[in-house]
């Protein structure tokens, strides 16, 4: 392989399968590669993945299969070592990985080894028209301002990118590309980590962060019984159920449902806040939602400042009415399953 100024995407492999978030990363990569007129490379580390050709159909020009089968599990030390060797050999200008447990673990190790810059959890990537530097944009200070970061002096420019920040490119049947295999030696007996087991989360819950609709409840739901109405509504919609800190502290929902600065960040297509006042702690976790519906009996509630649709009224009452109306039009879960939930 000759040194290039390519864009390199780190594929995420889980249990021998390419995780669909990789196709989103390829969509970002394609944009950058097209603008720079360079090759889009995709590295699959350690794993034997069935769908390697799919990476080409989804936008990669070249797939580098690195030591396939030698590091089948998610072990940071050997995988990061393969990533570093791959980067050193290919010499990409940019390396991007999904901001998942996988990417957020391997990329900092690689960046530290390579003494180069890494920007976490970007929501947008672009190029500076003047110097072709990667523009890495991410929410900062709890999501209330956006910061654009550059890595001007060192290479490669590395970024982890938030899942669902872009739509994956459609498969392009017959798209041509190159698949190369690269063998770097690994010495399992020297690895400081040993993989013992994986237990899949059995709950059928749709992950809050991945849900296309999020229904969240706050103080205005008044009690646990009313809050349970929201759960029913979320079930009908196939929505993720979220809560404000007040609702969590009241014991209406577990912390895993908390949206906001100290909880989760969601950016669904539609967010519905029922009895949510819209304190800054909560807003920071949902402000980038595409469409925001707020139900609150206080017309001066801050959430209305960020809402597209504002309903002034008693939250439990409106939730009830909405649930009844939905039951009429879609008695069972009518929503199509989203692909590749994380």
């Amino acid at each position: 392989m000759k040194k290039s100024s390519s864009i390199l995407v780190l594929a995420e492999v889980r249990e021998g399968r390419i995780h669909p978030v990789t196709y989103e990363m390829l969509a970002w990569g394609r944009k950058l590669a097209a603008q720079l007129q360079v090759s889009l490379d995709c590295a699959v580390l350690g794993a034997e993945a069935e769908e390697i050709n799919e990476l080409i159909l989804r936008g990669a020009d070249r797939v580098v299969s690195v030591s396939p089968g030698l590091v089948p599990e998610f072990l940071a030390t050997p995988l990061a070592s393969l990533l570093v060797q791959t980067i050193k050999e290919i010499g990409p200008a940019v390396v991007i990985a999904p901001a998942t447990t996988y990417g957020r673990t391997l990329m900092p190790i690689a960046a530290a080894r390579l003494a180069t810059g890494l920007t976490a959890d970007c929501t947008e990537l672009g190029l500076d028209g003047k110097d072709n530097l990667l523009l890495q944009t991410r929410p900062a200070i709890g999501g209330n301002v956006m910061a654009t970061i550059k890595t001007p002096f060192t290479r490669p420019q590395m970024a982890t990118v938030r899942p669902r920040s872009i739509k994956p490119l459609p498969r392009e049947e017959g798209r041509q590309g190159e698949i190369i295999s690269k063998q770097y030696a690994v010495a399992p007996e020297l690895w400081p980590e040993k993989f013992l087991s994986f237990t899949r989360d059995q709950s059928s819950d749709i992950s809050l962060e991945d849900a296309e609709i999020v229904v969240a409840g706050g103080k205005g739901m008044r009690n646990k019984e009313n809050f349970n109405l929201l759960e029913e509504l979320a079930g009908l919609l196939g929505a993720g159920l979220g809560a404000t800190r007040v609702a969590v502290e009241a014991g209406w929902a577990p912390f895993s449902r908390q949206i906001g600065l100290t909880g989760k960040t969601v950016a669904p297509k539609v967010y519905l806040g029922a009895g949510v006042a819209g304190k800054i702690q909560h807003l920071a976790g949902m402000i980038t939602s595409d469409y925001i519906i707020a139900v609150n009996d206080d017309p001066s509630a801050p959430i209305f400042k960020v809402a597209d649709l504002g309903i002034i009224g008693d939250a439990p009452t409106i939730v009830n009415k909405l649930t009844r109306a939905l039951k009429e039009i879609q008695p069972a879960k009518g929503r199509k399953q989203s692909d590749g939930g994380m």
Partner: protein, 270 residues
């Protein structure tokens, strides 16, 4: 065991307000707290210490002199020693430059068995400093850990929370582990330890103490640069519905259904 906990002072979130025009969060600069996830890292370190006789826990932080406050809190929560890394030259450090400073301090402190850190801090939210520090110390790192079991003085078993489940990993010590909130329910600082912590005179190390090159730290040593900070547009054109009448409520419900329908999120309906 010799345990080090990495802690960070972050802006508090209790007294924040939003500039209604720009959507920018306005904070009181004097309102700072111990990073919430660090409470869990500290509690875990103290728990391990209590079950492994002869252990010590040292809290290590890089920050302005005001960060002594969080070292005091760490001691009130059961940590034995604290060390602050503070120097003008550290200012403007990005994650990699910060990791260089932390790693230099850890090296100077001597042999350690385990470093614990919160998975991320609420201000930067990068989660990078922990893994980068481990890399510079050439020790393994396990991130997103929700349970830690000490097997013996050479190994720990950890459960790592991943998107679709839990992975169990055995890791040789010394190692660095970043923890998530699920790992424990941190007890509150005790009154006695809080009072004792007030009297502690924590050592403060600067550039000279660590022997780090000024080209490796601070803004000069940071490969990333903030090119621009801007406010995302928050103001939306809100359509309001009043629901004091039955008709008003019905209209509001229809508007919600239409919003969902137009985005293909519910069936088109009959």
């Amino acid at each position: 065991m010799n345990i080090i906990v990495l802690v960070k002072q972050v802006p508090g979130t209790t007294n924040v307000r939003m500039d209604p025009r720009t959507g920018v969060m306005v904070r009181d600069p004097s309102d700072t707290v111990l990073n919430p996830l660090d409470e869990h890292a500290i509690a875990e370190a103290v728990r391990i210490k209590e079950s492994s006789p002869g252990s010590t826990v040292t809290a290590l932080s890089m920050g302005p002199p005001s960060a002594l406050k969080i070292l005091r809190e760490a001691c009130a929560r059961g940590v034995d020693n604290g060390l602050l890394l503070s120097h003008r030259a550290f200012g403007g450090s990005d994650t990699i430059a910060t990791a260089r400073v932390l790693a230099a301090a850890v090296r100077k402190l001597g042999a350690f068995d385990l470093i614990l850190a919160g998975e991320k801090a609420t201000d930067g939210e990068t989660g990078q400093t922990g893994p980068m520090t481990a890399t510079m110390l050439d020790v393994p790192v396990v991130t997103f850990v929700r349970r830690l079991t000490v097997k013996d003085y050479n190994t720990v078993n950890v459960q790592r929370l991943v998107e679709d489940g839990v992975e169990e990993i055995e890791v040789k010590l010394p190692a660095l582990v970043t923890v998530v909130r699920e790992i424990n329910d941190p007890p509150l600082p005790t009154l006695r330890k809080t009072i004792l912590a007030k009297k502690i005179d924590f050592p403060v190390w600067g550039v000279e103490d660590l022997g780090v090159k000024d080209t490796d730290i601070g803004l000069k040593g940071s490969p990333t640069r903030v090119a621009r900070v801007f406010s995302p547009k928050f103001a939306r054109n809100t359509t309001f519905y009043r629901t004091d009448s039955e008709a008003g409520a019905a209209d509001a419900v229809s508007a919600v259904l239409e919003a969902l329908r137009s985005r293909d999120l519910i069936s088109k309906g009959e």
